[in-house]
C-alpha cells in the first residue's frame, strides 16, 4: 500500500490523474504534429515572400508586379545542365526591371547579362546549392553541402565554363587565361580541354643549350637568386634557391653549354665618334616597340614582346650580342626578333650603346670559385629535380612529363582534399589565390616557384582557374563555345622564308596567324599600290601620327623588296575586290569636288584623319595626304562601303554609305597624291 501510494504520488506528481495524463499526452501529440506545418509556416522563404508582397504594395507598378508574382517554392529544372534551382523562391524580383532602385536583397532584379535565367538557372554561374530553401544552406558551405556561393570578383570564371576562347565582356577571365598561358604555368601543369585537346602555352622560354656563349656564370647565379632584381618585368619566377644551389646550377649550365660558331667572333670595337649615333640607331630601328627600358622615374617604357633591356650590359657578352644583332636566327631559330640587315658599323654602334646599359651594383657581390665536378653533378640533379627542362631546352636533359599536378579540374577540387594555411578562409578561391601568392608555404619540400604577381593578377588567374571545373568538362559539347582554332598559316617559297627571317608575324597578322601590334595584312595585296609598297619597305614612315610603335627599317636589298612586293601583291588578294575595276586617277572634277564636300561636311572625316596637314588635325586614323598614291581605288571604295568587311574589328565606323557617295569620296581621295613620293622619284 505504501509502495502504491508512492507510485501514485510519483505518477500524480508527473501527470496528475489518468484523465489529466491523457490530456497532456494528447496535447504533446498535437504539438509534435504541429511542428512540421509550423516549420513550413515560419520558413524563411515564406517570410521573404511576405516581405516582398508588402514592399510591392506601396509601389506605383504594384498591379503589374502582383500579376507577375507567383507564391510558393519556385524551381528552375534543367536536366541537361544538372540544374535544380530554387533561388527564385526568395529572390522574387529577379526579372522585374522596374525594381532597379531596390537595393535590399533578396529583392534586387538581376543585372543585365546576355543569357536568360530560365535557360541557365542560377548555380551555373553563382555556384551555391540551388536545391536548398534556406539562406544558410543555399549560400554557405555547411556540414551537408560543400558548394558555397562564388564571390562576385570571380564570377567571370563561370563564363569560362562554356566559352573556351577570348570573350568580350569578361576582361578578368581573358586576363587570367593570358597570364596562365604566358607565365609558364602550362609548361609544368597540363590542362586538358573539353574537346580533347591540351591548352598550349603562349610563351617560349629561351633554350639554354648555348647559354655560356651569351652570358656569364655570375649573371646566371644572380638571375637564379632573383630574376626580378635583374629585370622587374621578368616572367621567370623565383625558385628561392639557396646560395649553394644557385652556385651549382650555374656551374652545371655553364659546363653543359656548347659553343655555337659565330658567337665568339669579336668585331673591332671602333668607338662611335658621335655619341648620339647609338641612341638614334636604337630609335630608328624601333627597338622600343618590343623592348622596354626603365626610365629615370623607374617606369618601364617600351613594348613587352622582347626582354627588358635596362641592365642588358650586365648580362650579355659583347661577342654574343654582336652575333645576335647581325642575325638573331643563328642563335635561336624561333626568336620573335627580326633579322635586321645591319652593317658592321651599325652592329658596333648598337652593341656599344646596349652594353652601356648596366647597373654598376648588380653583380658586385657575386664571387664564384671555379666549379668542382661535384658541384656540377649536384647542379644537374637540381636542374632535373626542379623541372627546368619543362620550360628550357637543356642539352642532355629531357622535358619531364606530367611534372606538376594536372589542373584540368582544379576549379571543382573538393575542400577536404585541400590543405589550408592557418587563418585562411576554407574556400577554393582562397586556396588557389593563397597558393599563387606563396606556393611553398603549404608544405615542406614543394617545388613550385614564387611568382611576383600583383593582387589583381592573382584575382584574374584565380578566375581563370576556377573555370577549369567539373561542369566545364561534362557540359554537352553543343553548349560549349570553342576557342577560334589557332591558325597554322605559313607563307610559302622564298618570300615566305624572307618573311620568317624578318619576323613579320611578330607584329602583323595574316590569315589569322601572327601578332596584333601592326595592321592585319591578309588583304594587303588588294589594298596598296606597288610603288608605294616598295618605297615603304625601303623606308617605312608612319601613317598614324599618334603611334609610338612603328615599323622598323630593315635595310632590305632591292631584290628582297621586289620579292616581298611581288608576293604580297599576288597572294594577299581579297576575292571581293577587283583592283582594276576602278582607275587610280582621271576622275571628273565635279565628282572630285562632290567628294571633297562629303569628306569635310556630311562625313566629317577630318575628325580622325589628316588630309591637309595645314588645317586637319585628326589623330586617330592614318594620314591621308598621299592616300591616292598609296591605296588602290577599288580598295578605298570597298573600305568606305564596309570597313569591317575588309578588316574585322576596325574602329572606323561603317557609315552605310550610298554607292554614289562612296564613288565620289573615292574620286576625291584618289586625287590626294601627296608630294613626298614624287620628289623621291625624281631623285
Amino acid at each position: 500500500m505504501a509502495s502504491d501510494g508512492k507510485t501514485a504520488s510519483l505518477w500524480q506528481r508527473l501527470f496528475g490523474s489518468s484523465v489529466r495524463a491523457f490530456g497532456v499526452v494528447s496535447v504533446l501529440l498535437l504539438i509534435s504534429l504541429a511542428i512540421a506545418p509550423a516549420k513550413n509556416h515560419f520558413s524563411e522563404w515564406r517570410h521573404y515572400q511576405k516581405q516582398y508582397l508588402k514592399m510591392i504594395r506601396g509601389r506605383g507598378e504594384a498591379v503589374t508586379l502582383q500579376r507577375h508574382y507567383q507564391g510558393g517554392i519556385q524551381q528552375i529544372w534543367l536536366p541537361e545542365l544538372g540544374v535544380v534551382d530554387r533561388c527564385s523562391t526568395c529572390h522574387v524580383g529577379l526579372k522585374e526591371v522596374g525594381l532597379a532602385d531596390v537595393a535590399t536583397q533578396p529583392f534586387r532584379p538581376h543585372p543585365v547579362i546576355p543569357h536568360k535565367l530560365d535557360q541557365f538557372g542560377c548555380v551555373v554561374c553563382h555556384r551555391g546549392q540551388g536545391a536548398a530553401t534556406t539562406v544558410e544552406e543555399a549560400h554557405r558551405s555547411t556540414l551537408a553541402w560543400e558548394q558555397p556561393i562564388l564571390p562576385a570578383k570571380y564570377i567571370e570564371s563561370s563564363c569560362g565554363q562554356c566559352h573556351q576562347g577570348e570573350l568580350t565582356g569578361a576582361p578578368e577571365l581573358n586576363e587570367g587565361r593570358r597570364l596562365l598561358a604566358g607565365y609558364g604555368c602550362l609548361h609544368c601543369h597540363t590542362v586538358k580541354l573539353p574537346n580533347g585537346g591540351t591548352w598550349k602555352a603562349t610563351d617560349d622560354p629561351p633554350s639554354l643549350e648555348h647559354i655560356a656563349d651569351k652570358t656569364t656564370r655570375e649573371w646566371i647565379y644572380a638571375w637564379l637568386k632573383d630574376p626580378q632584381a635583374y629585370a622587374a618585368s621578368a616572367t621567370m619566377p623565383n625558385f628561392l634557391f639557396s646560395n649553394d644551389d644557385a652556385r651549382d646550377i650555374s656551374a652545371f649550365l655553364m659546363a653543359n653549354s656548347t659553343v655555337l660558331a659565330g658567337d665568339t667572333i669579336a668585331l673591332p670595337q671602333k668607338a662611335a665618334a658621335d655619341p648620339t649615333a647609338g641612341p638614334s640607331l636604337y630609335g630608328a630601328s624601333f627597338c622600343a616597340s618590343c623592348h622596354a627600358v626603365q626610365n629615370a622615374a623607374g617606369n618601364l617604357v617600351g613594348g613587352d614582346v622582347g626582354p627588358e633591356l635596362t641592365r642588358v650590359g650586365n648580362k650579355v657578352k659583347p661577342e654574343w650580342l654582336q652575333a645576335w644583332l647581325r642575325n638573331p636566327r643563328g642563335y635561336d631559330a624561333r626568336t620573335a626578333m627580326p633579322h635586321y640587315r645591319f652593317d658592321e658599323q651599325q652592329v658596333v654602334t648598337l652593341s656599344a650603346f646596349l652594353l652601356a646599359k648596366t647597373d654598376s651594383d648588380f653583380l658586385v657581390t657575386v664571387h664564384l670559385e671555379p666549379a668542382t665536378p661535384e658541384e656540377i653533378a649536384h647542379g644537374k640533379r637540381l636542374v632535373i629535380d626542379y623541372g627546368c627542362a619543362s620550360c628550357h631546352e637543356i642539352t642532355g636533359i629531357r622535358k619531364p612529363e606530367n611534372f606538376a599536378p594536372e589542373l584540368s579540374r582544379i576549379g571543382s577540387k573538393a575542400i577536404p582534399q585541400l590543405i589550408f594555411l592557418p587563418g585562411m578562409a576554407h574556400t577554393l578561391p582562397d586556396y588557389i589565390s593563397g597558393k599563387l601568392r606563396n606556393p611553398r608555404a603549404f608544405a615542406s619540400g614543394l617545388k613550385m616557384p614564387k611568382y611576383s604577381f600583383s593582387e589583381p593578377q592573382i584575382d584574374a588567374i584565380t578566375t581563370a582557374m576556377l573555370s577549369l571545373n567539373e561542369r566545364a568538362r561534362t557540359l554537352p559539347l553543343s553548349l560549349t563555345v570553342a576557342a577560334t582554332p589557332e591558325s597554322t598559316y605559313e607563307p610559302a617559297g622564298k618570300a615566305g622564308q624572307l618573311m620568317h627571317d624578318l619576323a613579320c608575324f611578330s607584329c602583323h597578322r595574316i590569315n589569322g596567324h601572327g601578332g596584333d601590334m601592326a595592321p592585319d595584312l591578309t588583304w594587303e595585296g588588294s589594298s596598296v599600290q606597288r610603288a608605294w609598297l616598295q618605297d615603304f619597305l625601303k623606308n617605312p614612315n608612319t601613317l598614324r601620327p599618334a603611334l609610338i610603335r612603328r615599323m622598323p627599317k630593315f635595310n632590305l636589298s632591292n631584290g628582297e623588296i621586289n620579292e616581298l612586293t611581288d608576293y604580297i601583291l599576288t597572294v594577299y588578294q581579297s576575292p571581293a575586290i577587283d583592283r582594276d575595276s576602278m582607275p587610280l586617277s582621271g576622275y571628273p572634277p565635279v565628282q572630285v569636288e562632290e567628294g571633297r564636300q562629303l569628306f569635310y561636311s556630311e562625313y566629317s572625316c577630318q575628325a580622325c584623319h589628316i588630309l591637309d596637314s595645314k588645317t586637319d588635325k585628326g589623330y586617330i586614323g592614318p594620314t591621308l595626304t598621299q592616300v591616292g598614291s598609296r591605296l588602290s581605288a577599288a580598295w578605298v571604295y570597298s573600305w568606305l562601303k564596309n570597313p569591317q568587311g575588309l578588316r574585322p574589328g576596325s574602329i572606323e565606323p561603317n557609315r552605310n554609305m550610298s554607292d554614289e557617295d562612296a564613288r565620289s569620296l573615292t574620286a576625291f581621295l584618289m586625287t590626294q597624291k601627296g608630294s613626298g613620293r614624287k620628289e623621291a622619284k625624281e631623285k
Binding site: 496535447v27 506605383g60 532597379a100 538581376h110 547579362i113 539562406v135 562576385a152 570578383k153
Partner: protein, 254 residues
C-alpha cells in the same frame, strides 16, 4: 496545476521554434581591433582614390588615401583612421594610424553589386568628436563592363581629354569638343533614347556636330545599350533613372 504544465510546454515549443528560426539568421560578427591613436586631427581630407572604377567585387586599381590635418592644414602623424562602407565593401587595412605625412592608405574592394559605393573615413578631433569624409567609388556590372570595353575601343580617344603614353587623345584636335562621359551635368539631361540616337546616327541626329560619326551600322543594339549603361554608371553627378518608362514593345530584360 494543469495550467502550469501547459505553460511549460508552450514555452518549450516557443523556444524550440525560436531556435529553429534563429539558426538561419545567425551571422558571425567580426571586428578588427583598432590601434590606439597617438595624436588627434582637426580635419580629414581626401588625398586620392575616390571616383575610381572597378568591376563589381574587385579591388580598386589605386588605393584610397586620406590625410589627417591639424588646424594649420599640416599632416598629423598617429591619428586613428577607420574605414566603413556598405555591405560587401572590404578594406585592407580597415583601420590604422596615419604615417609621418599624415596619410592613411587602404586598398578597397567593392561589393558584388554594380552601382555607386559610398565609403566613409572617420577619425576623431580633440573634442573626441568624430570627423568623417565620404568618398564615392563606382562598381561595374556585366553590361557596364562591356560598355567600358567598347568605350576604350571606340569612344575614349575623342571623349577623354587626357592623353596617356599609349593613347594620345584626339580631344584637342576637334573643333567642336565632345563631352567627357563623366560630364553628368550635360549627359544626365539626355534620355536613353537621345543617347541611342546620337550613337546610332551621329551628331546631326540631335542637331549636333557631324564630327561625331554614326555607329549604328558598326555596333549592335546590345552594344549600344551597354555603352549607355557605362555612360550612366560613370556620370558625375550621379544619373538618376526616370524609373520604368512604359512604352510599346518593352521587352523583359531577362
Amino acid at each position: 496545476m494543469t495550467q502550469r504544465w501547459f505553460a511549460r510546454e508552450l514555452a518549450l515549443a516557443a523556444m524550440t521554434s525560436a531556435l529553429l528560426l534563429g539558426i538561419g539568421c545567425a551571422r558571425p560578427a567580426s571586428t578588427v581591433p583598432a590601434p590606439k591613436a597617438t595624436a588627434l586631427a582637426s580635419a580629414l581630407v581626401e588625398s586620392s582614390g575616390s571616383k575610381q572604377i572597378a568591376a563589381a567585387g574587385m579591388v580598386l586599381p589605386q588605393p584610397v588615401v586620406v590625410q589627417a590635418n591639424d588646424d594649420q592644414g599640416n599632416g598629423v602623424q598617429g591619428a586613428l583612421v577607420e574605414m566603413s562602407g556598405p555591405a560587401g565593401v572590404t578594406f585592407d587595412p580597415v583601420n590604422g594610424l596615419t604615417d609621418s605625412s599624415g596619410q592613411f592608405t587602404t586598398s578597397v574592394s567593392l561589393g558584388g553589386m554594380a552601382g555607386r559605393y559610398q565609403i566613409v573615413a572617420r577619425t576623431r578631433n580633440k573634442a573626441q568628436k568624430p570627423i568623417e569624409i565620404e568618398l564615392q567609388e563606382i562598381a561595374l556590372g556585366y553590361q557596364e563592363t562591356l560598355g567600358s570595353q567598347l568605350n576604350d575601343k571606340y569612344c575614349e580617344r575623342c571623349h577623354n581629354p587626357e592623353s596617356t603614353a599609349v593613347r594620345v587623345s584626339n580631344y584637342d584636335n576637334l573643333e567642336v569638343k565632345p563631352h567627357p562621359f563623366t560630364d553628368g551635368n550635360t549627359l544626365n539631361q539626355m534620355s536613353d533614347a537621345d543617347l541611342t540616337a546620337i550613337i546610332s546616327h551621329g551628331g546631326p541626329a540631335l542637331n549636333k556636330s557631324p564630327l561625331m560619326p554614326p555607329y549604328g551600322y558598326t555596333l549592335s543594339k546590345t552594344e549600344i545599350q551597354a555603352l549607355i549603361a557605362y555612360i550612366r554608371a560613370v556620370s558625375d553627378p550621379l544619373y538618376k533613372s526616370p524609373g520604368l518608362v512604359y512604352a510599346k514593345n518593352v521587352e523583359a530584360r531577362l
